[in-house]
């Protein structure tokens, strides 16, 4: 957590490079935005800054800061960057405004695909999609004559062969950091095994065959990972790839660009992208689709919201995409999918489900994050862990008022 705080950076108007053509209008309303700090957001906030009076805060801990900052009156930020999961707390607290009128006024360049509708109203504007998908070192697999794995059983077999070849002791990487990341890996696998998290009345339903199989698969994968895998977040896995220490991983599409960045990567051009592996025969790719995009605060004057939305539109226009085509899998007009986008696109084509922006999912994700490490460290077996998760979910759901 701390290192991400340290990684938080401030990009102000002064820092914006002259990489893009100037903004179409002169903004004179001070606008502040709080977003995540990966490459795509750097590109978008830099493009926004050209309009003037924009102060962009990029912080990987944004999910902790946003709910309170938006609940303040007036809100501390006019613009927020969110994804499916981080939209939930803002929706629940009612601190973001519907964007229908602003989209009608300034959103001529948006495609219908970018409009996130909740309950019929546009609550966010998406700019890119993200998904965890399979990345592998094509050079190593080719050298050993291994076909690119399509299923998790093939991933395990490939890992075994790489290990046996003596090339790498720990050929697999994974964002298995205890907490949110590991819970997300479980979600991917659980959905991949055809599970569904809750019943219609919001009671939990993870303690079943799909849950057990998902947990067992995670444990089998972990035997091919560096033993300190419970501390590995996305950045750690990205580094391991860049330094040539792992050969395969299911990693976020937004990290793919960094693997081809010669300034920090030793494996430029050697990492191939593919759909997330399938967990069971006939199943869908074991991953979830995410989007990243903008929301506008409710607790601000309409004039400010107006200016903020216009600035955001400048940030996600065609020019920005042309200049930063490789930074993400953009949803914006003018985007040319390249080889780095293949994994996310194939996962989506394969039918990977969207990660739902619901309270139920949020509570379940938190409960899984709390309890799953006990299974990986061997303190609890699979059914015990799943029972713990259900109990923890129920406590949270009762506290939140979701289950009476």
């Amino acid at each position: 957590m701390l290192k991400t705080i340290l990684a938080a950076a401030l990009v102000s108007t002064a820092l914006a490079g002259p990489a893009y053509a100037a903004c179409a209008f002169r903004n004179d309303v001070p606008i502040k935005s709080l977003t995540a700090a990966f490459d795509a957001w750097k590109a978008v906030t830099a493009a926004m800054a050209e309009c003037g009076n924009v102060q962009a805060e990029l912080d990987q801990e944004f999910r902790r800061k946003q709910p309170d900052a938006f609940a303040a009156n007036p809100a501390l930020y006019q613009l927020g960057g969110v994804a499916n999961g981080t939209l939930t707390p803002l929706l629940n607290a009612g601190t973001i405004r519907p964007l229908d009128d602003l989209v009608a006024k300034y959103g001529q360049n948006l495609t219908p695909n970018q409009l996130i509708r909740i309950d019929g109203r546009i609550m966010a504007v998406a700019m890119m999609v993200n998904a965890q998908h399979f990345m592998y070192r094509s050079d190593i697999l080719q050298e050993l004559g291994i076909q690119p794995p399509k299923t998790y059983d093939e991933v395990l077999a490939a890992a075994e062969r790489i290990r046996a070849s003596g090339k790498m002791q720990h050929p697999l990487g994974g964002t298995f950091k205890a907490g949110w990341d590991l819970a997300q890996e479980f979600n991917n696998m659980f959905l991949g095994f055809g599970g569904s998290f809750t019943n219609a009345n919001n009671t939990p339903a993870v303690n079943g065959p799909a849950g057990v199989r998902a947990l067992e698969m995670l444990k089998r994968l972990s035997t091919y990972m560096d033993p300190e895998y419970l501390a590995a977040d996305s950045t750690a896995v990205q580094r391991s790839f860049q330094q040539g220490r792992i050969a395969m991983a299911n990693l976020w599409a937004s990290r793919a660009g960094a693997l081809d960045n010669p300034a920090e990567s030793q494996v430029v051009g050697k990492v191939a992208m593919a759909a997330a592996p399938i967990a069971m025969a006939g199943g869908k790719p074991a991953t979830t689709l995410w989007w990243d995009g903008f929301v506008v605060a409710r607790n601000i004057p309409d004039a400010q919201a107006d200016a903020a939305f216009r600035v955001a539109m400048e940030g996600i226009d065609e020019e920005m995409v042309r200049a930063n085509n490789a930074a993400a899998v953009w949803l914006i007009k003018g985007y040319q999918p390249n080889r780095l986008a293949e994994g996310a696109i194939q996962s989506a084509m394969g039918g990977a489900p969207n990660y739902p922006s619901t309270t139920v999912m949020g509570l379940m994700h938190a409960a899984i994050g709390e309890k799953i490490a006990d299974f990986m460290t061997g303190r609890r077996d699979a059914t015990q862990t799943l029972a713990d998760i259900e109990a923890s979910y129920l406590v949270k759901a009762r506290e939140a008022g979701l289950v009476r």
Binding site: A178, T359, E399
Partner: protein, 342 residues
């Protein structure tokens, strides 16, 4: 002193203590008995998310918080009694664990509260003697060193105490995690793969080591100051009586330092029972958690923006009870000394 004057003198501190200590404590106690929750309604709604080429729209029944007409969401606060404490202490699970075939202590330690309590207690009780012993040893060593060197020695020994706790913990973590330089060095010497952050007990040892390294200078400074006031006449007469170095330490120096040893022990017990920075700095959540971290994790908003205020309050009340129980023996000793002197 006249009672009136006395009252006038203590009034400001009594007011401040009520305002900043008693008030918040009562408030936390009250909050541990109540739960504030949102009011959910189930509606059938249409939601759209991006797909490839076209958006994916689904119409389904979803539970969502009821919005107030003027913005914000409806909430309700209900009295739940000891529910939060029950959720923390899980008496049913404890009873089941100690029933035949229930798994005993091993099962008990998978329940968050007891896991945290176990670590917090071991952490406190193991570091206590080490901090006092090491602090005393450094104080005696510096006291015996040549006068010209003392300034430099004191400065060097104080350095760990000056470092911000989280930063110090992070620094040690980076030295050892993955292929950190010290792990790499150990691997080179021992010719085997070492992963210190893969198992709970190795992280725990690092955390203990870090706390002793960080706090021993505090004990050292206190003891060193006290060593300057040891009665030289008593020491000299002890030497004339033929007392050896250890005997002088045992019968003259330690009794002189005793009130301060109790003081350092008190402070250290209170501090280390609230162990927190180490859990964050070493990212040990998967393996080791402390009571303070448990409270913190309840307070952090979860993925839906919800904070478990009720359970956090209960957890801090229990932490406070724990500190009081730990301090009772030392407080009783101080009280007895106080009575004797009067």
């Amino acid at each position: 002193m006249k009672p009136g004057t006395f009252a006038a003198f203590v009034a400001p501190s009594v007011v401040l203590m009520i305002l900043f200590i008693a008030g918040p404590l009562v408030s936390v106690l009250v909050q541990s008995f109540y739960v504030t929750r949102q009011v959910f309604e189930t509606t059938t709604v249409e939601n759209c998310t991006p797909g490839f080429l076209a958006p994916v729209c689904t119409t389904e029944a979803r539970s969502r918080p009821k919005q107030k007409p003027g913005g914000g969401v409806e909430t309700e606060t209900v009295f739940v009694g000891f529910e939060a404490y029950r959720l923390l202490l899980q008496p049913d699970a404890v009873a089941a664990a100690f029933a035949p075939g229930g798994g005993g202590f091993e099962r008990l330690l998978t329940i968050d509260f007891y896991k945290a309590l176990r670590f917090t207690l071991t952490f406190t009780l193991i570091t206590l003697p080490l901090v006092i012993g090491l602090g005393l040893a450094i104080a005696l060593a510096v006291d015996a060193a040549a006068k010209r060197l003392r300034g430099v020695l004191i400065f060097a020994s104080l350095l760990p105490f000056i470092i911000t706790p989280v930063i110090g913990a992070l620094a040690i973590r980076w030295l050892f995690i993955g292929d950190g330089i010290l792990t790499a060095a150990l691997e080179a010497i021992l010719q085997r793969d070492i992963a210190l952050f893969a198992e709970g007990w190795t992280i725990e040892i690092l955390m203990l080591f870090y706390r002793v390294w960080h706090v021993a200078p505090f004990a050292f400074v206190v003891f060193y100051a006290a060593l300057q006031t040891v009665d030289q006449d008593t020491l000299e007469s002890a030497i004339i009586d033929g007392a050896s170095r250890t005997e002088r330490l045992r019968y003259v120096v330690i009794p002189h330092l005793m009130p301060l040893i109790v003081f350092v022990a008190l402070i250290h017990l209170m501090d280390s029972y609230r162990v927190f920075e180490e859990v964050i700095g070493f990212s040990s959540q998967a393996h080791r958690i402390s009571l303070q971290w448990l409270t913190f994790s309840f307070l952090m908003p979860d993925e839906t923006g919800n904070r478990s205020i009720s359970r956090a309050s209960a957890s801090s009340m229990l932490t406070m009870v724990g500190i009081i129980i730990l301090l009772i023996p030392l407080l009783m000793r101080t009280w007895r000394d106080h009575r004797r002197k009067r």
